[in-house]
Structure formats: C-alpha cells, structure tokens
C-alpha cells in the first residue's frame, strides 16, 4: 500500500512538471482540422445531409471557426454527442468545441469547468401535446407521462416545475431527439418537453404538424451557445469572436455575397477591422489577417444562417423573436470589434 501511495505521490509531482502542454490552436493547426461536437440530430439545428455531411444552425458556427483558422470551412470534423456524452467528450479533449443546443448555466461554468463563449440562440423550455388531448395549459398536466431528454437542463427544470406546482408525472427518459419523437408519436408519452425551438423543429417534421400544439408556458430561460473547456483563453477568444463576427456582420449588413467587396469598399472602419483590411485583429487572436472575412464567407452572417436552416421560410419555421438583432428589438448583440 505504501509503495502504491508513494508512486501516486511521485506521479503527482511529475504531473505538475508536464502540465503545460501545447495550446488548443496549435493542436488544431497541427492536426489540420477542428473537431466539433454536435447533437445527434435536431431538424434544422444539426443534421446530416444525404452524403453524411453535417449541416445546420449549430455546425455553421464550427464551419465559421474552421474557416477563420484555415480559410476553409470544410476543415471541420464532427462528433455526434448525446445529452449524456457531450461534456465528457469536451472535457476529455476528444472534441475542441461543442456547438450543440447547450444551455449556459452557472454550474456548467464553475463546476464542469466549461467556458460558454456567447449565445447564439435564446430559448426557453416548452411543452408540446397532441391537440386531441384538449390540454390548454401546462398546469393541467398532472399525472401525465412526459418524454424528456436525459442529461439536460430541461430534465431539472421539469422536476422543479412539477414539484413547485404540486403535480405528479411519469418521466419517460430518452437519449436523443429522434427517440423522443418516436415515443411521443407512438403515444408512449402525452407530452414532449424540450427547448421551444427544438419542439418547433420536431413538430415541423411531423406529417400533420397542426395536430399538435405548443402550450403557452415557457418554464425556463435557455440561452444556448457554443462552448469550450476551461484553461485555454486564446482558443475561447477565437470561438467567441468568430461568433461575434457573424452577429456583427448582420448588424452592419455584411453578407457572404458582398463581404469581398465590402472589405475594400466599405466606408465603415469596423467593417474593415472585422474583415481584416484594417487593424490587426487576426494577429491579436493568433489567426490569419482575413479570419473574419473567411468566417463570414463560410456560411454567411448570423441572419443568413438563421434563415437558411431554421427561419420562417424553412419547415422549422421559427420567427426571429428574441433572436432578432438588438437594433430590431431582440437580444442578439455583439460587443464591438476593435
């Protein structure tokens, strides 16, 4: 026993000595791609196309980061994660960043040691029920069976909501959105609860979306955003400011189509700083000078990404609502790029 504890102590000493390892950015440059964790599939937010490539509102952030580093949005590899595996994957270094409808909370910051770099979707937890049940309010759900994704904040909100309202329920735990959808349609549960955006996305894939209603109660705040692990601030900055570029670009009217032209012709210095034709933002972050331009050209600005994957013209049909630019009365707001 003594031998073993001696060895452990020796190992601990050795550990301090080698703790300083290369930064995430150097690792990524060395391996040639960004490893990005995404969800296993939520219509519009993350899905594979026919060729098996990941697309959607969340992978778009990864593509922008890949483009900012390498100038090529395809230099990203994806790891599908469930609600259960996502944090372990990030913490253990299997993925470099996680862009998967993940809620920013205090304990995830402070206890799980993760860094949320921003918010790309303001969401809240809602309930979906079949119209035929005749339920008008979540307060009438006492005794219902509720499908709930395990390992998510929605699971905790749900327990809290039902407890504070003195109602009983049967939780039906599921792993993925696809599973939840199947169980809900088969009638294994009366109610499906997750982020309202996810509910809308799921309902959009039903044969008869009109047969299902979202209840008016939104029981939580769910600010969703990309995240990285603690300990590498440079890498966190890169992801954070790539996201901010996408948001700022929409505010300033820069799109994937006009970015090249704007980078030289724009009279606005912030546009030029953002696109790398003025100042040295790239150097500060340890990236190429035109990182902003490349990130933007990967999939367009925030508004373009939103409209392409989940906006009102897609089957998902989400309104901008809270996710409109601050100048239009929403909450999407980027700090200045200077």
């Amino acid at each position: 026993m003594k031998v073993l504890s001696g060895l452990i102590a020796a190992a601990a000493v050795a550990g301090v000595a080698t703790a300083a390892s290369a930064g995430t950015l150097d690792d990524i440059k060395a391996k040639g791609f960004v490893q990005c964790g995404v969800s296993t599939g939520v219509a519009g937010f993350a899905f594979t196309d026919d060729k098996g490539n990941w697309q959607g509102f969340d992978p778009a952030v990864c593509q922008a980061v890949g483009a900012a580093i390498f100038g090529d949005p395809s230099k990203v590899k994806y790891t599908p994660t469930t609600g259960k595996t996502r944090f372990e994957a990030l913490k253990s270094g299997e993925i470099d960043m996680l862009a998967r409808n993940t809620t920013w909370t205090l304990s995830r910051d402070a206890d799980l040691k993760l860094t949320f770099v921003g918010i790309n979707y303001y969401d809240g937890q809602g309930f979906m029920v079949p119209k035929a049940l005749g339920v008008k309010s979540a307060k009438e759900l006492g005794g219902a069976s509720v499908c709930i994704q395990t390992g998510t904040t929605t699971e905790l909100n749900l327990a809290e909501y039902f407890r504070t309202n003195n109602m009983k329920y049967e939780p039906v735990p599921i792993e993925t959105n696809a599973e939840g959808r199947q169980n809900y349609l088969a009638g294994r549960c009366d109610v499906y609860t997750t982020d309202a955006s996810g509910l809308a996305a799921t309902r959009g894939t039903f044969e008869n979306p009109a047969d299902h209603v979202l209840l008016p109660e939104i029981i939580s705040k769910e600010p969703l955003g990309p995240l990285v692990r603690h300990g590498d601030d440079q890498w966190a900055d890169i992801v954070r400011w790539t996201l901010n570029v996408l948001i700022t670009a929409e505010e300033l009217g820069v799109t994937a189509a006009n970015a090249d032209k704007m980078s030289t012709s724009s009279a606005n210095p912030e546009v030029k700083r953002m696109l790398g034709t003025e100042g040295n933002t790239g150097e500060m972050l340890g990236l190429r000078p035109d990182w902003g331009l490349q990130a933007l050209k990967a999939g367009g600005n925030y508004g373009e990404i939103f409209e392409r994957f989940i906006g009102s013209k897609t089957p998902i049909g989400l309104e901008r609502g809270l996710n409109a630019q601050w100048v239009n009365g929403g909450l999407i707001y980027s700090p200045p790029i200077r």
């Binding site: 390892s21 296993t40 599939g41 595996t85 299997e94 599973e179």
Partner: protein, 371 residues
C-alpha cells in the same frame, strides 16, 4: 375363391408386409407424435400454434408485404403487410454506413477476400492450402489498406464506417485478436508464478464481472483521462481494443476449462521427456485443450459478434445506430419492426452458420475417438 389360394409348405411362406399401422408414415407418426395421451395433446397444441402463427406471419412477411413504395403511408395504403421498402431504399446505408459511394467496391473486395483468407483456416481440403495460408496471414494488412485507404488508395476516416460493414469489421478483428490473448491469459492463470497468476486472475475477473457497455463507455469517454494529455486516438480503435479484451477474458476461462481437462499424466509425461514449458504447452497440452474447448470458443465468438451491437450506445453507427436515424425520417417512422427483423435475420444467418461450423469441426476432430 379357392383357386386364388396358394399353398405353401410350412416355413416357405414369403414375409408379409408389416401391418399398415406399423410401417411408413403411419408408424412414424404413431411413434413420434401420438405415442401417449400427453404426446397427442402436445402435438395437437403444437399444430394449432403453428396454424395460428405461420400463415399470419407469412402473410405479413412476404405475401402482403410491399417492397417498392416511396414512403410508409404509401406502403400502408397498398397492403397490410410488412413495409420492406424502407430496407430496400436504405439498403446501401445499412450495409456501408456513410462510406463514400464510389469507394464501396473496396469494402466488397475486402469482404470477398475475407472468405478466401478464411478458407484454409476453416477447411483442410482446400486446393493450394499452403499458398492460401500465406494469404491468410497478410490478409489483415490488405484489409486495413482497403478499408482505411493509404498506399495510393484514397483515405477514408473511420467515422464514415457504419452498417453491417462495421459489425463484421469489429466482429472479425475482435475474434482474430482475442484468441491469442485469451490463450496467454489462460496459461497465465494456470501458471505457477504467483504474480503472473494473480495479475491474470484480477484482469479476467474484473472484465468478466462488469457489463460490456460500461467498458465501452469507459473507452469512449474516460480513456482520455488515462492517456497523456493531448493524446487522442480513433474511437473505433478504442472500441476494438475493449471488445478484444472483453472477449479474451471469456476465452481465457473457456480455454482454462480445456486445460484443466487434460490429465496430469500428459504434463508429467511431457516434462519427463525433458520438454521445456513452451514445448510442453505448444506440442502436447494446448492442441488437446483447444480441441476440447472448441464449442466454448465458438460460443464466445458468437457472443462477441452479437455484442458488436452495443457500440450503438456509444454512438458508432452500426445497423442499430443507423436504424435510429432511419426511423427519425418522417417518411419511414414507426417501421421499427421491419428494420429490426431485417437486422435480426442478418445476425441469425451469420451466428447460425458459425454454430453449425463448430459442430462440423467437433465431429471432424473427434473422429478418431468415436466408438
């Protein structure tokens, strides 16, 4: 009347055929189906069960089934049986996962060559067995380059592997790698060197004591804690290692059983001939022990092969994993039975043929001892 009567001298009458009740099908039915009151009841019950189940199943399975519809609803409008269209449409995906379409010939080739490589191992009457055996030894290398690319072939990353291809890949590599490891562990467990023995016992009992999915979960998430910071290797490789270790521990116990069945005299005779430990084991003991253990070894292999389905829990896209994504497609949702039955048939065919082979091998090896 009388003129048809032949007369025979006593003892010369030719044998009459047995009475109707004790020959042919009637006799067989009497003996095998209606030999007693209980048996008659059982037979009738069984026949009734078959009458209930088989026609209904056949109707659903093939007669009323739809093979070429575009969606679930189209299926259900046309007939009430199984909707095999989902399997037809997604067949390629179920076979290869997301392996690039234009490169799938490499998978097919690797699969075909697998049988060429297996032939000399499995059967001893193959023409040119000696040359084929050389091929069997280099086959893993060939298969590796065919599947992953390299040496002039376009590389394919293992994240794109999926479907039955993944099942066969994990199953076959696990089987090949776990056998030598299992033998070493079994010898270690029976070793006189106490340290080796204790280490082997601990390892075997640990692996056998926990469910495979917890090991796979460790491989997929916790392994990175145990490796030097920043190191990262392929998830598929990690799974392969875990599956191999798992099967090796079970194999070790099977082989240990075989070793224990070898009479002490064999060891003593070998040692008195002055054989070294490895000669004794390799030439005298192991060949006999392995022969005894064959049924157990094949059963372990079948178990390993079936256990490959568990990789779906850590997110690899084996057929079960793909079925989840297929069922999430609104065109096909709710057709779980069809997809699962299709996958079940695949597993049944491969596992059943493995168990048949083990029976064949047992018979072949026991030929000399049959009385």
């Amino acid at each position: 009347m009388t003129d048809t009567t032949e007369t025979f001298a006593p003892g010369t009458h030719p044998d009459l055929p047995p009475p109707l009740g004790s020959r042919g099908i009637v006799k067989w039915m009497r003996e095998n189906l209606f030999s007693s009151a209980t048996n008659t009841v059982l037979t009738l019950l069984g026949a009734y069960l078959i009458y209930l189940a088989v026609p209904a199943f056949l109707d659903w399975f093939i007669l009323d089934a739809v093979f070429d519809a575009g969606s679930r609803n189209e299926c259900w409008e046309r007939a009430g049986g199984a909707c095999w269209s989902v399997v037809v449409v997604r067949f390629d995906q179920l076979m290869y996962g997301f392996y690039p379409e234009e490169l799938r010939w490499r998978v097919d080739l690797a699969f075909l060559l697998l049988f060429v490589a297996l032939a000399p191992v499995l059967f001893d009457k193959v023409p040119g067995r000696r040359y084929l055996a050389i091929f069997s030894i280099v086959y893993p290398v060939i298969a590796f380059f065919l599947l992953w690319g390299g040496m002039g072939l376009e590389p394919v990353e293992s994240a794109k592997f999926g479907g039955f291809m993944l099942t066969v890949l994990i199953g076959v590599s696990g089987i090949i790698a776990s056998l030598p490891l299992g033998i070493v562990l079994a010898l270690g467990r029976r070793s006189e060197l106490i340290v080796l023995r204790v280490v082997c016992i601990c390892f075997i009992e640990f692996i056998r004591g926990v469910p495979l999915i917890t090991l796979l979960f460790i491989a997929s998430t916790l392994l990175n804690y145990f490796l030097p910071p920043g190191s990262n290797f392929d998830l598929l490789l990690r799974v392969l290692i875990m599956v191999t270790l798992f099967a090796a521990a079970y194999l070790a116990e099977v082989i240990r059983g075989g070793l224990q069945a070898i009479p002490k005299g064999q060891f003593e005779a070998a040692m008195s001939m002055g054989m070294s430990y490895w000669k004794m084991m390799g030439l005298i003991v192991l060949p006999q022990a392995m022969k005894i253990s064959i049924p157990g070894i094949v059963n372990t292999f079948i178990g390993l092969y079936k256990d490959t389905t568990l990789v779906v829990i850590i997110g690899l896209l084996d057929p079960l994993g793909l079925s989840q994504s297929i069922l999430a497609d609104s065109k096909w949702q709710g057709l779980s039975t069809e997809i699962y039955i299709f996958i079940a048939i695949f597993f049944f065919l491969s596992c059943f043929s493995m168990s048949r082979y083990s029976i064949y091998l047992e018979n072949k090896l026991h030929r000399g001892h049959k009385r």
